[in-house]
C-alpha cells in the first residue's frame, strides 16, 4: 500500500484522491463508487444535477460523514473516517452551501478563530489574544484580501448576504489549508455578484488545490482546470472543460439541458 502516513507528498502523489468511495444512507446509495485524483494546485469544478451527490461527496471528504466503503487520501495519507477537525489539521478546509459563520462574533474575530489553530494556538489559556502578533497580522491581511476591512468590527450577523459569503470563504482559507473545498460559494448571488466573487475566489486560492461546486456554467468553464461531472452518485466524466463540453454522455445526462436553459435565459434578457 502506498499510504505510509509519513512520506511527504511527491509530485506524483495527488493532493486529494478518492478510491472507490461509496456512501449509503440506510438502503439508499448516494455515492456509488467514486474515483477521483486531483493534482496539487489544480482547480476542479464539480458539477451535476441537484441531488446528484455533490454535497455528500464534500461531506465525505471533509469528514462530516464517513464513507461506507472506499478510501480517501489527502496528500497520500488516509483521511476517511477521521473527524472533521483532524482532517482540517492535516490541511483541508471547506466552506458551506448554507452560510456557516459565527454570528455573534465580529468579522475580525470570525477570521481570527480560523487562524488560531494553524499558528499553534490550540486550546491556549495563558496568552492574550491581543498579544498574538502573528495571528492578528494574518487576520488583518485576510480582512484585506476578502475586502471586509471596513466591516472589521461589525458582528457577522449584521453583514449583507454577499459579505457573509465572503467571510465564509475567509474563514475557510484562514488556516492556510492547501486543499480547499468550496460548496456552492456563489449560491444565492446575482450574476454580477457571482462574477466578482469568482475573481475573489481565484485570488485567495492562488497556488492551492481547489474543489468547488458551482452552477453557473460560464463561471465553471472560466475557472476550472478540470471538471468532474457527478450524476446519480457517479463521476461520469472528469476532464478539461472543452473535453467535458464535447462529451456526449455529459451532454445527454446533464449539460444539454443546463446549457439550453441558460441560453434560453440569456436570450430572454
Amino acid at each position: 500500500m502506498s499510504t505510509t502516513p509519513y512520506t511527504s507528498a511527491s509530485h506524483d502523489t495527488p493532493a486529494l484522491e478518492l478510491r472507490g468511495v461509496c456512501k449509503r444512507f440506510g438502503k439508499t446509495e448516494i455515492i456509488r463508487g467514486v474515483d477521483l485524483a486531483v493534482r496539487a494546485g489544480e482547480r476542479v469544478a464539480v458539477i451535476g444535477p441537484n441531488g446528484a451527490g455533490k454535497s455528500t461527496l464534500f461531506n465525505l471528504i471533509s469528514g462530516r460523514f464517513a464513507p461506507t466503503s472506499g478510501e480517501i487520501l489527502l496528500g497520500g495519507r488516509r483521511i476517511d473516517g477521521k473527524k472533521p477537525f483532524e482532517i482540517n489539521r492535516m490541511g483541508l478546509a471547506r466552506s458551506f452551501q448554507i452560510t456557516n459563520i459565527f454570528p455573534k462574533l465580529s468579522v475580525f474575530e470570525n477570521l481570527r478563530c480560523g487562524v488560531l489553530w494553524s499558528l499553534g494556538y490550540r486550546y491556549t489559556l495563558f496568552k492574550f489574544l491581543a498579544d498574538l502578533d502573528d495571528a492578528n497580522e494574518r487576520t488583518e491581511d485576510l480582512l484585506e484580501r476578502i475586502g471586509l476591512t471596513k466591516k472589521r468590527d461589525t458582528l457577522a450577523m449584521n453583514l449583507t448576504y454577499a459579505e457573509q459569503r465572503a467571510l465564509e470563504i475567509g474563514i475557510t482559507i484562514a488556516g492556510g489549508a492547501q486543499v480547499i473545498l468550496l460548496d456552492e460559494p456563489t449560491a444565492g448571488m446575482s450574476k454580477s455578484e457571482t462574477r466578482r466573487f469568482i475573481e475573489l475566489i481565484r485570488e485567495v486560492t492562488e497556488g492551492k488545490t481547489l474543489l468547488t461546486v458551482e452552477h453557473d456554467m460560464g463561471v465553471v468553464f472560466g475557472l476550472a482546470d478540470r471538471i468532474a461531472v457527478v450524476v446519480y452518485g457517479e463521476v461520469i466524466a472528469f476532464d478539461t472543460p472543452e473535453a467535458v463540453k464535447a462529451n456526449p454522455r455529459v451532454q445527454e445526462a446533464y449539460l444539454g439541458s443546463v446549457l439550453a436553459e441558460q441560453q434560453a435565459a440569456e436570450a430572454a434578457h
Binding site: 482540517n88 456557516n100 459565527f102 480560523g114 489553530w117 491581543a130 488583518e140 471596513k150 488556516g175
Partner: protein, 430 residues
Amino acid sequence: MSKAYDQFTPYNVGRWVVWTLFALVLLVAPKLFTSNLSISMLAQMGIAIIACLSYNLLLGQGGMLSFGHAVYSGLGSYVAIHALLMVGQGTLAVPVSLLPMVGGLAGLFFAMLFGYVTTKKAGTPFAMITLGVGELVFALSLMFSDFFGGEAGITANRVVGEPVFGITYGPAVQVYYLIAVYTFVCVAAMFAFTRTPLGRILNAVRDNPERVEFIGYNTQVVRYLAFMISGFFAGIAGGLAAIQFEIVTAEVVGPLRSGAYLLFTFLGGATFFFGPIIGGVLMVLALVLLSELTKAWLLYLGLVFMFMVMYAPGGIASLIMMNLRVAAFGRLRELWVSYLALGGTGLVALLGAGGIIEMIYHLQLNAAIGPQVQYLGATLDTGSAQSWFGSAFVMLTGIGLFEVARRRFREHWSDIQVDIEKEIKRREMA
C-alpha cells in the same frame, strides 16, 4: 502597533479606571454599610458574583445551559469545610486564607470527573445530563451523612490556626475582606479568560459548534476545558461560603441553588461579561432581603424572571448597554418622560397585584390569625369584597396605563434606533 488589535487593550486607560473603581467599591463598601447584616450581605454578594460569573462561563460564553452548577460550588463548600475541620484538629496545615483554593481544586476535580460525561454532548442533551448529575449528587448528599452531615450539615470554626498579620477571621469584616480579595482576583481572572484563544474559541463553539470542527478544534475538548475552569471558580465561591457561614448543609448542592444561579445570571445578563456581577448582587438582595419582606418572594421573583425573558432576554446588562448606546448618540434625554411613565404605571400595577398576592398567601398560610393583612402600611381584609375589588381595580388600572405607556415608549424607542442606524451608516460612508 499590535496593541491596536483589540478594542480594549491591556493598557487602555478606560479599563484601568473600571478596575480601580471596582477595587475601590470592594474596599469601601463595608465602611458605608456597617451593620452586621450589611457586611454579611456584602460578603455573600462577593461569593454570589464569583458563582454567577463562573456559571456564565458556561451559559453566556459557551452556550451551555447547566441545571446542576451548584454541584461544583457545593462540593467545593463541603471539601473546604472538611479541610477547615482538619485544620482545627491540626491534621492539615493550610492557612484559612487559602481554604477557598481547596474548594476551588475540589470544584475542578469534580468538574473533571462529571464534566467528562456531561460535555460529550451539547445543547439539550448537555442540559439534561447536568440535571441528572445534579439530582444524583443531591440524592447522594442525603445518603452519605458522614461527608455531607445529613440534615444538620457540617459545622466548623473558622478561627483556627495561627493568625497571619493578626488576622483571625473572628470579626465578620475580616472575612469580608478575604472574600473581597478573592472576588477581585476571580473576576479579573475570568475576564482575562474571555481574552484568551481558548475563551474566544469557546464563544465560537457557542455560536456555531459545527463550524468550529472544521477550523481544527474538537468542540468536546473546548467544552470540557471550559467546564473545568467554570467548576474551579464555582469551587472557590463554595470554599468562601464555607468560611463565611461556618456551616455547610445539603441544600448547597441542591437543585434550588442550581436554579438560583441560572435565574440570577440570566437576570443580570448572560450576554455581557459584567451581567452576572449584577446578577450576583441581585441574588443576595432577593434571597436575604426580599425573602424577609414577604412570604411570596419566590412568586415575585418568578414574575420578574418571566417578564425579563419575554421583554429583555439580554437581562439588566443589555438594558444598560442599550441605553448607553442611546445616550452615546445624545438621545437618552428624550426618553426620561417615557421611563417615568413606565415606572409609575408599572408600580401601580404591582401595587394592586401585590395586594391580591399577599391576600392569597395570607388565606393559604395565616388564615387562622384573622382576616387582616398588613400591606405597605395599609390594612387589607381578606373577608371584605372591598379589599379584593380595590386591589383588582388598582392592578387593572395600572396594567392598562402601563400598556399605553409601553406602546408609546416602543414607538419612540424604535424611532430612535432607526435614527441611530442611519447615523452609523452615515459615519461609515464618511
